[in-house]
């Protein structure tokens, strides 16, 4: 045994042994272990294979910066690839597997890549695999992709749930080390609302106070504008799947923390030394070795060589020695070793090689010795099973650079320290560069084996790659990173960026600050996409808005359709009816009897005030001055660029009181636009308006018998007769014995029609009442499909025609544009391209054979024209089979359309194999005189 559990000590609970498996083999650890410490305790030192060369790799670190020990955790849909063994808390039954190896970790066929490494130098793939071109997708790329990647995704839907929360505080403390705890204590004692987040799971010594919230297993991963911090708390990742909290409870929580001040106490990461074969298992960061000893009571080896260039390592070496690890040699880069190292070497009886470096390590799947080059240049081979290295410490300043803060090079400690900070942030402790790298003498590249001196372990970027990239002109830091992939792996260069930058600086003969700096993008450590989405997936991706007659529709077997966020009844099938039969029946009912349909989803805006008319004059393109009280008018709204924005109706209920409707799709947009017109463009107008879409249930009641049905609902003495309440009339009667209502005589279907609005809570009751009241007329609820069919038969433009690319002229509505007033869109609607008579304009189409269906999205060409884009003259916007006419019809936008009525056009739909000739007709197919709505 080389790595082993120490007989005493550590923060593990030896009374709670935990069984786990790695690559199928059973092991035991203790509560308080990480997967990494438990593996080491079992002398498992080979834990993964590297990205490119598939080299055997072991643990380097003990924390989140670990680049090598990535494993697949759990199984089935719960499988989590690329999980750092150093941050996985051990639990009973944990399953882990090594990754990126075939067939096994010990014998990996792609280990041959290591032999081919001379070919696979930085950027080699940009220079080859180009011939023949078609082989890229077929041959080269699939092979490269299979070899690349790391862990395997399960390909199954994530079975876990996630949640989100908003947190607010005066002071956010990031990191629960000595500095963080001191900061949190002080801030809380001063009365501030404090949140402390710590990514670990070791208990923290903090007082229990109402104004201090402590989130463990919680990583602050990003800093955003306005004092907003993104954090993820892991709630059940440390529990076996059978644990009650892990079943049903959310796996993780995404916290958006808003803080006035923050204190970054994130500590520092130790830098590896870059020397030959420095990636062999058993070569570790000195601080990590000490952590395994003190926290987990694991000795990662028995015979250690120490490689250092500063004095912070000294206490860690003492820890190793105290744990019984034999210190075979201390290799100190500095020509004259420091007092601290000399005292240490004397105390632990270890030889010091001052002014020496490690040239290379030896070993196959674990380190077995090193070659030291001493101050005189003599090579000394020393056997060992552990190399504890430290090239100094890098402050963990990631979060300081998320808002473009640029770290500054501090020559005294040979490290980057935080530069400009986000507003309200203070950095303390090692993260600020305090108390680190005592008496450091930087060494960036050691020994004579650059091709096997790894800088970025996970991406297999060697010192030679960096030198080669520079040689090829990729000497800007960003070029270097992108060309070599330095720092682009899952660890985002936590252990490699500074070493890489320094090696580049050495190569270019520049200082480190001249060469560049390291900045970090969020997230600080990888974040599961699931937690960022929280509960918003599946049916809960977006809210679902239900109409006030939804329960009625469900009870009447409606099939529903999504209309924006709304769920609307599409049709009400009876018995075994299919969609077409149901829609035909519903249309027939409206055309020949009576039907009703929920139109609540249309936007409703209540407008009041002395300047209401002036305001309507401004926002609508048509005129409103002369609209009498009790009348409704169709309204057309343009955008300021002259294109049609929306249409609807507006009723005048009083001298200063109007009710506007918008299309369903544009309800919010119109509201926003009107607020803009009022607050920004015309604040002097004395008008108020509010959306009442949700307050009123509105039902269209249409068909020859509509009046007779309605008569039975409306309270007397209200007169519904054609003379008293004609087409486009509006009133506020009561119904059903005193229920306040709004009644409009409107017709979207072309039949005698009304729209009746009641307070939303009466929606279902009104629908039920209509069914009862109209039973003897066989009153029929109809859905959006029949609604749409009838509007196409009537040639009313709707969504497909109001597509934001059409003008009033295109829709045949040019006559509505007022010439007497200023209104939004007037000026730019007069631009040449918008008034061009050859623009595609609304027409109707009927297939010449009156049989073949037409499809929306088909393009229109002259029958004899070649099938090319140059001959494209328009397209079909809406198409149906007309129940009323008994054959297919369509609305279309056709160049110079109205002038071509009577001609034949080719309706071309190659993407669906459609190709049919159609007659160009006027866009109103049913009751063109419009007499039925006046009945």
């Amino acid at each position: 045994m080389t790595a082993h559990r120490l007989p005493a000590g550590g923060l593990i609970d030896r009374g709670r042994p935990l069984g786990f498996t790695f690559d199928g083999k059973r092991y035991q650890g203790f509560a308080g272990d990480t997967l990494a410490s438990a593996l080491l305790a079992n002398d498992v030192r080979l834990v993964g294979r590297s990205f490119k060369y598939h080299r055997p790799r072991g643990l380097i670190a003990a924390g989140v910066e670990e680049p090598n020990a990535l494993v697949e955790l759990r199984s089935g849909g719960y499988r989590e690839p690329n999980t750092r063994a150093t941050v996985v808390e051990l639990f009973e039954g944990l399953e882990a597997r090594s990754q990126n190896r075939f067939p096994s970790l010990k014998f990996d066929l792609l280990g041959v890549n290591s032999l081919l490494a001379p070919l696979f130098a930085a950027g080699f793939y940009y220079k080859t695999f180009m011939w023949p071109a078609s082989f890229w997708e077929k041959l080269y790329e699939p092979a490269i992709r299979r070899a690349a990647g790391l862990g395997r995704h399960s390909r199954q839907a994530d079975p876990d749930t996630y949640e989100k929360s908003h947190e607010f505080c005066d002071v956010l403390v990031i990191g629960g080390g000595t500095s963080g705890i001191a900061a949190a204590r002080e801030a809380a004692a001063a009365g501030a609302r404090v949140i402390l987040c710590d990514e670990g799971f070791a208990p923290l010594d903090l007082p229990d106070a109402a104004n201090l919230s402590v989130f463990m297993r919680c990583t602050v991963f990003g800093v955003y504008d306005g004092g907003t911090y993104g954090a993820v708390q892991r709630l059940t990742d440390h529990l076996p799947a059978s644990h009650p909290s892990a079943r049903g409870g959310p796996r993780q929580r995404f916290m958006k923390i808003v803080a006035d001040r923050s204190i970054l106490a994130s500590g520092a990461f130790e830098r590896p030394m870059v020397f030959g074969y420095n990636d062999l298992p058993g070569i570790m960061l000195a601080g990590a070795v000490a952590t395994y000893v003190t926290r987990y009571a694991v000795a990662p080896g028995t015979n250690a060589v120490i490689f250092l260039n500063h004095d912070d390592v000294v206490p860690n070496v003492q820890i190793m020695a105290d744990a019984g690890i034999a210190i075979t040699a201390i290799v100190d880069v500095r020509a004259t070793s420091s007092e601290a190292v000399r005292v240490l070497s004397h105390r632990i009886q270890a030889p010091v090689f001052a002014g020496a470096v490690i040239d290379r390590a030896h070993g196959s799947t674990a380190v077995s010795g090193v070659d030291i080059i001493d101050a005189r240049g003599t090579k000394i081979s020393v056997p060992c099973d552990l190399v504890a290295m430290s090239g100094g410490w890098n402050p963990v300043l990631h979060l300081t650079s998320h808002l473009d803060g640029k770290p500054i090079w501090d020559e005294a400690i040979a490290a980057f320290v935080p530069g400009t900070l986000p507003h309200g942030m203070q950095v303390v402790g090692a993260a600020a560069g305090c108390g680190i790298n005592a008496n450091i003498q930087p060494l960036w590249l050691s020994g004579q084996h650059p091709a096997k001196s790894f800088v970025d372990f996970q991406n297999d970027v060697t010192a030679r790659d960096l030198i080669l990239a520079k040689q090829e002109g990729f000497a800007a830091v960003e070029h270097l990173k992108r060309y070599t992939t330095l720092g682009m792996a899952t660890d985002q260069g936590k252990t490699s960026n500074v070493n890489g930058l320094a090696i580049l600086a050495t190569e270019t003969g520049k200082t480190i600050p001249e060469t560049g700096t390291t900045r970090f993008r969020p997230p600080y450590t990888p974040v599961a996409l699931g937690v960022l989405a929280g509960p918003h997936r599946g049916k809960y991706f977006k809210p679902t808005r239900l109409t006030p007659t939804h329960d009625f529709a469900v009870a009447n077997h409606a099939t529903f359709v999504e209309a924006g966020l709304w769920l609307r009844a599409r049709y009400f099938a009876q018995g075994t009816e299919d969609r077409r039969a149901a829609v035909f029946r519903e249309v027939d009912a409206v055309r020949n009897g009576v039907g009703f349909c929920d139109v609540t989803t249309l936007g409703k805006i209540d407008i009041q005030g002395p300047d209401s008319v002036k305001f309507l004059e401004f926002v609508y393109a048509n005129g409103w001055n002369d609209l009498a009280i009790g009348r409704v008018r169709y309204g057309l709204m343009l955008r300021e660029d002259g294109f049609v924005m929306d249409d609807g109706t507006c009723a005048r209920l009083g001298q200063q009181h109007f009710v506007m409707t918008t299309t369903t799709a544009n309800a919010a947009k119109v509201m926003q636009h009107m607020e803009f017109c009022h607050q920004v463009l015309a604040p002097a107008l004395d008008v108020c308006f509010v959306s009442v879409t949700d307050q009123w249930a509105q039902l269209a009641i249409a068909g020859p018998h509509a009046r007779r049905v309605l008569q039975r609902l409306v309270d007397p003495p209200f007169d519904l007769s054609n003379d008293a309440f004609p087409h486009m009339a509006a009133a506020v009667p009561t119904i059903c014995g005193g229920i306040a209502a709004r009644l409009f005589r409107l017709s979207f279907s072309g039949e005698l029609g009304y729209e009746l609005a009641v307070p939303a809570r009466y929606g279902n009751a009104l629908a039920a009442q209509l069914m009862q009241t109209g039973a003897d007329f066989n009153i029929t609820p109809y859905g959006t499909e029949a609604l749409g069919v009838m509007r196409i038969e009537k040639g009313h433009p709707a969504g497909p025609e109001l597509n934001g690319q059409t003008t009033a002229h295109d829709l045949g509505l040019a006559r509505l544009l007022s010439r007497k007033k200023d209104y939004v869109g007037r000026a730019l609607a007069a631009r040449p391209a918008l008034t061009d008579p050859h623009r595609p304009t609304l027409v109707g189409l009927k297939p010449c054979d009156r049989r073949t269906i037409l499809r929306a999205g088909s393009h229109l060409l002259r029958p004899e024209a070649a099938l090319t884009a140059a001959n494209d003259e328009g397209f079909v916007t809406s198409a149906i089979v007309s129940p009323t006419l008994g054959y297919p019809i369509a609305l279309a936008l056709l160049a110079n359309g109205p002038a071509r009525i009577g001609e034949t056009i080719r309706v071309y739909d190659p993407i669906r194999n459609g190709d049919v000739l159609a007659d160009i007709v006027a866009p109103v197919f049913h009751d063109p005189a419009g007499s039925r709505r006046h009945a």
Binding site: A121, G149, Q156, L529
Partner: protein, 416 residues
């Protein structure tokens, strides 16, 4: 040195001692016949095609920092020509054709991968809108297919077919669409342009545009004055700032667009997929990272980073479309600055200032346009007339109303 498998092998045997810089690092000349401002994809492609196809004399390209640091190095690498309007279709199809022959042309493997682009639809009107688009593509001689739900499920089984808030009904597919290794495009064009004699000058920021009697005569830079007979600006993201040096205001807002990459995974997603009921699209890189994105943040910015609401929106869209990605981990997100125009379409045109040419307004779709943009801008600068596939990209279209508004949202850049 020509790149090939043979040279890679030879160099490997020689310890790679023979590799030379991919491009020279020349000092700026006192003047050039044509100066291109902007060492991104479009500027480099422009310089390359100018040198290759047009006899315009000496060409200098000025980059304020390092080549490819703008959008060409920050995008999500997708190429496609699945546009709707006649103003766009021939242009993007030219771009696609140039992509298809790019690597052999410039002798650089940019990993052009025609993996297909699926635009998912979720309703009948959306299907018909995609049909309209697909038919327009077909009429322009571009491949397009409509894939129904069953066929889509066969091809991409891991979408949420059974529990989606907005049911998946099918997709518009362009098989020739795909991805390209973005950095390699900048490097490949740079190397190819350099080999044709273009001076590529990095760390040379333009600080002023010198005019004489309404004509451009050169640029002030951080490395001194450089004379120019013709000046082409290709600095998307900073177009308003550079144009302002010539006294021009543009119909452009600068917006931030975020992009995202996950940890590297073994092959999982073998095509490009866009969500039709939210803002999300995704592909997988050759290295294994899932590369994805969504909508722009929606406010003007010159800071290349965004905020949490968009990040959440993108991830929500992703989980709604393919709930398997919940356990993939985001490893990095970043932002880039987009030239958002008032109709969502680009500008390749002369300007009111003589000898000043503008290539701008690529919104969030400039990467796929890179070859055609360079090709057409080179043509414009050399011939002083628009290339036939770029005749709609005029500055005066806003006054005339000849807009190219694919989405139909009008003069509101953050909605395009």
């Amino acid at each position: 040195m020509r790149y090939s498998a043979l040279t890679v092998l030879t160099q490997a045997l020689r310890g790679h001692a023979g590799w030379r810089p991919a491009w020279r690092n020349p000092a700026p000349a006192p003047d050039y016949d044509v100066v291109i401002v902007g060492g991104g994809g479009h500027g480099l492609a422009t310089a390359y095609y100018l040198a290759k196809h047009h006899n315009v004399g000496r060409i200098g390209l000025l980059e304020k920092s390092w080549l490819g640091n703008g959008s060409v190095g920050r995008n999500t690498t997708i190429i496609r020509s699945n546009y709707l309007l006649p103003g766009n279709l021939p242009f993007y199809e030219l771009s696609m054709k140039l992509w298809e022959g790019l690597e052999q042309d410039i002798n650089y493997n940019a990993m052009v991968s025609q993996r297909g682009v699926f635009n998912i639809y979720h309703s009948d009107p959306q299907r018909d809108a995609y049909a309209r688009r697909g038919n327009a593509m077909r009429l322009h001689g571009i491949d397009a297919e409509l894939v129904d739900r069953d066929a889509l499920r066969q091809r991409i089984p891991y979408l949420d077919y059974d529990n989606a808030r907005f049911p998946i009904q099918g997709a518009l597919l362009q098989k020739r669409g795909g991805t390209v290794r973005h950095d390699a495009v900048a490097w490949g064009y740079a190397r190819a342009a350099d080999r044709l004699g273009v001076d590529i000058i990095q760390n040379c920021e333009v600080t002023g545009i010198r005019q004489e009697r309404g004509k451009v005569i050169g640029v002030e830079t951080t490395r001194g004055y450089i004379g120019a007979k013709k000046l082409g600006i290709a600095v998307a993201g900073a177009s308003s700032l550079v144009a302002a040096m010539a006294g021009l205001r543009l119909p452009i807002e600068s917006h931030v667009l975020q992009a995202f990459v996950s940890e590297a995974l073994k092959p999982l997603i073998d095509t490009v997929i866009t969500f039709g009921a939210g803002h999300f699209y995704i592909s997988q890189s050759d290295k294994g990272g899932l590369v994805f994105g969504g909508d722009i943040d929606g406010y003007n910015s010159y800071a290349a980073r965004g905020n949490l609401p968009t990040i959440e929106d993108v991830c929500e869209g992703g989980m709604a479309l393919m709930p398997m990605i919940g356990r993939a981990r985001l490893v990095r997100h970043w932002g880039g600055i987009m030239d958002m125009t008032m109709d969502g379409s680009p500008i390749i045109d002369r300007t009111p200032v003589e000898n000043l040419f503008l290539n701008a307004g690529w919104c969030y779709g400039g990467f796929k346009a890179t070859p055609a943009s360079g090709f057409c801008f080179a043509h414009l600068i050399a011939c002083e007339t628009p290339h036939k596939v770029a005749t709609f990209y005029r500055l005066d279209r806003f006054a005339s109303g000849r807009l190219i508004d694919e989405k139909g949202v009008g003069a509101q850049p953050n909605l395009h």
